[in-house]
C-alpha cells in the first residue's frame, strides 16, 4: 500500500516520522510549488477556496508518483472542508487515477480515528509500536514549533536579514533526520542556542503583529506568500496562536477531556458573535477582541470566498476593542508585490501610531 497525502505547513515531518517508525510506504508529494497550484487550479471548480486547490494539487502529484491510497481530511463541519473528500475523489477518478480513499474525520473521534487508521496502514503493527510512533512524530512537531516561535522573534531584530530563516530551514532538516529522542533534544537545544546568539539590534522595539484567520492559509507559507518572513524583514515581531503542535495537543487529547483552549477566545467573541460559524470565524473575532490591547496590529488571513472568515471580516470593524487589522485574501491570483506594498503601508501605520501614542504619554506625564 503506497499512501499519499497532502501538505500543511510542516506537518509532513510528523507524518514522515510515523511512517518511518511503522514501516509503511509513504508517498509525499513535492512541497507546494507553482506546479501544484497550477494543477489544482486547472482541475478544481473555479469558485472553490485555495486550500482545496492546493490539496488537490498535492493529491494529483501524489498519484503521479504512484500512490494508491489517499488520505483526505474531512468531517461534519460547517465549512467546505467537510465536502472536500467527495469533490476531490470525483475529480481524481475522472483524471483516471486508481486509488482507495480514506477519509480522516476532523470531527468526532479524532484520536481513535487516527490510531485505527495507523493500525490499518501499518499492516496491524502492535499498539505499543503505533503509540510510540505517534508520540515520536508529535514530539518532532513540538520541537519544530518551539524553534519557529523563537524564529518569529529573531526575524524582527536580526542584523543580517535572513539569518533566522536559514537556521530555521537547517533546523527542520536536522529534526527530520533525527531518529531518536536524544538527538531530537540536542538538535532543538542547539538551534535555539544558535538563534539566541544571532547578532541582533538591541535598541529596536519591534511592533508586534498577530496573525489571525483561517487555519490552512495561516500555516502554509506557500499559500500566504511567506507573510511571516516578509513581516520579519520589515522589522515586525509576529505572533500566532495556531501551530500544528498545539492543535494536535488539544484536538487529539485535551479537548476530549473537556479542556478547550479556545473557550477564552469564544468568550471574548460572545458580545459580537454568539455562535460557532464554522472554520475559524468565531476564533478570528475573539482573537481580535483579546489581542486589541497586547498587539500593535493584526493581519487577518483568509482564502478568497471563505464563508466563516467573511462573516468575521464583516463583524470585526464593529468591536469596541480597537486595533488596526489588515485583511489579506489568499488565492491563486495573489501577487507578491501587491501584498508587500500593503504590508509596508500597514507597518508604517503601526509605527506612526506607536509614535503618536508615545508622544501623548510624554505630554501626559
Amino acid at each position: 500500500m503506497r499512501v499519499g497525502t497532502s501538505h500543511l505547513g510542516n506537518i509532513s515531518i510528523m507524518i514522515k516520522a510515523w511512517a518511518q517508525r511503522l514501516g509503511g510506504s509513504l508517498i509525499l508529494p513535492p512541497v507546494n510549488n507553482q506546479r501544484t497550484l497550477s494543477l489544482g487550479v486547472k482541475y478544481s471548480p473555479e469558485g472553490l477556496c485555495l486550500p482545496f486547490k492546493l490539496t488537490l494539487g498535492n493529491l494529483i502529484e501524489a498519484c503521479e508518483l504512484g500512490a494508491d491510497t489517499l488520505i483526505i481530511t474531512g468531517g461534519d463541519g460547517i465549512c467546505r472542508l467537510g465536502y472536500y473528500a467527495k469533490t476531490q475523489e470525483q475529480i481524481l477518478r475522472e483524471l483516471g487515477y486508481n486509488f482507495e480513499i480514506i477519509q480522516l474525520s476532523l470531527s468526532g473521534q479524532k484520536l481513535f480515528g487516527l490510531l485505527k487508521l495507523m493500525k490499518r496502514l501499518s499492516n496491524n503493527a502492535s499498539w505499543f509500536k503505533i503509540i510510540s510512533a505517534l508520540r515520536f512524530g508529535i514530539v518532532k512537531q513540538f520541537a519544530i514549533d518551539k524553534i519557529e516561535r523563537v524564529v518569529q522573534k529573531v526575524r524582527a531584530v536580526e542584523q543580517i536579514k535572513g539569518t533566522a530563516n536559514r537556521l530555521y530551514a537547517k533546523a527542520i532538516a536536522a529534526i527530520d533526520n533525527a531518529d531518536n529522542y536524544n538527538t531530537l533534544k540536542r538538535v532543538q537545544r542547539d538551534y535555539i542556542d544558535q538563534l539566541n546568539h544571532v547578532a541582533k539590534d538591541t535598541q529596536a522595539k519591534p511592533p508586534i503583529v498577530g496573525i489571525i484567520g483561517e487555519f490552512y492559509v495561516t500555516l502554509e507559507p506557500f499559500a500566504n506568500q511567506n507573510i511571516e518572513s516578509e513581516l520579519g524583514k520589515l522589522g515586525v515581531e509576529v505572533r500566532r496562536r495556531t501551530f500544528i503542535s498545539t492543535w494536535t495537543k488539544f484536538s487529539f487529547f485535551f479537548n476530549s477531556l473537556g479542556w478547550d483552549e479556545k473557550s477564552k477566545i469564544h468568550k471574548a467573541a460572545l458580545p459580537y458573535l454568539k455562535r460557532d460559524v464554522g472554520g475559524d470565524g468565531w476564533e478570528t473575532v475573539g482573537e481580535k477582541v483579546l489581542h486589541a490591547k497586547e498587539y500593535d496590529g493584526l493581519v487577518h488571513l483568509a482564502p478568497f470566498t471563505c464563508m466563516p472568515e467573511i462573516v468575521a471580516q464583516n463583524i470585526m470593524p464593529s468591536t469596541k476593542e480597537n486595533i488596526p487589522v489588515l485583511p489579506i485574501l489568499c488565492d491563486e491570483q495573489m501577487n507578491r508585490t501587491g501584498m508587500l506594498t500593503r504590508l509596508e503601508a500597514f507597518v508604517d501605520l503601526l509605527k506612526s501610531r506607536r509614535r503618536a501614542h508615545n508622544n501623548n504619554q510624554h505630554r501626559g506625564s
Binding site: 471548480p45 473555479e46 469558485g47 472553490l48 477556496c49 461534519d76 463541519g77 460547517i78 465549512c79 467546505r80 467537510g82 465536502y83 467527495k86 469533490t87 470525483q90 475522472e94 459580537y272 458573535l273 454568539k274 455562535r275 460557532d276 460559524v277 464554522g278 472554520g279 470565524g281 478568497f304 470566498t305 471563505c306 464563508m307 466563516p308 467573511i310 462573516v311 471580516q313 464583516n314 463583524i315 470593524p317 464593529s318 485583511p327 485574501l329
Partner: protein, 329 residues
Amino acid sequence: MIKVGIPRALLYYQYYPMWKTFFEELGAEVVVSSPTTQTMLSSGSSRVVADTCLPVKIFLGHVLSLVEKCDYIFIPAIRSVKRKAYNCSKFLGLPDMTKAVIPESPPILDIEIDINKGKHRLYQAIYGLGRHFTWNPFRVRRASLAAWQAHRKYRELMSSQGLTPPQAIARMTGEVELKASTSTQATIALIGHPYMLYDEHISHCLIHRLEQAHNKVLTPEMLTTEELESATARLVGKAHWTYEDEVVGAGGHYLETGADGVIGLMTFGCGPDSQMMDMVRRRATRLRVTTFMSLTLDEHTTEGGVVTRLEAFLDMINRRKRRQVEVCV
C-alpha cells in the same frame, strides 16, 4: 400591536407561511419588505465587505428598508434542519452580522435551530422566541403547531400542484395569483436555492423569460421531499449541507427524468454551491442525456448577458428536439 419585520430574502421563500402563522398566532403583526430593488442592493452592499455573497447583500438591503417600520426584525440562525447536515456560515452569522453592520436596526429576534442538539433544545429555542410576545407556554405551543401545519400545507401545495413559492404564498395569503402559462415548447428545470430563483432582481426574471418563450418551468419545490432525498443519495450519498436537496437532489432528479434542459443558478462566491453545482455538472457530463447550463450571477451580471446565454441554451434544446423527431420519423 407588536410589529415583526421579515425581510423578503434568503429563507423567506422556504419558511414564510410558517413564520407568519407563528407570529400572528402570538398576536403580532407581520411586516414583509417589498420585492428587491436596485436601491436595496446598493444600500445593502455598501455596508459589507466586497466578497460577501449577493443574496446576503440583498438581505441586508431588505433589513435596511424595514428599519423604523417594525419593532423587531426576525432573523433566525438555522444551523441544521437535518441530521448531521449543516448550513452555510453566513446563515449562522446572519443575526450577529446584521447587528454589526446595521447598528440602527430594530432589536433582532434571534433563534438558533439545530436538530442535532435534540428536541428539547429545539423546543427551548422556540419558547425563547415566543417569550417576546407571551409568558404562556401553551400559547407558544399552539402557535408553533399551527405554524408547522401551515408549513406542511405550503410544501404540499407546491409539490402536488406544481406551484412556485411566490405562487403558493399568494394562494395561501389570498392575494391575486399570477397565471402560469400553459403552452409548452420545452420543459426547463431550474435548480438552485429559492432565494436565487424567485428573487426577480437577482435572477433577472429568469422564470418569466422562460415562460414568455413558451417553456414549462420546473423548480425544486415541485418535487416531493422523498424524490429529492433519494436523488441526493444516488448522487453524493449523505447530504453535507442543509439545503443540498434543492441543488444536488433536484439536479440529479431532473437530469435523469422530466426535463429537456436543466439550468443551475448560483451566485458568485457561494461556498456550498461551488461544490454542489460542480457535482451536478459532472453528473450531467457523465449522463449526456439532458442539456445542462450553469449560470453564475453577481451584482455585475447584466440582463443582456443572461438573455444571450438563455437564448443560445433554448436554441440548442429546440434543435436537439427537432433532430430527435427527425430520427424517429
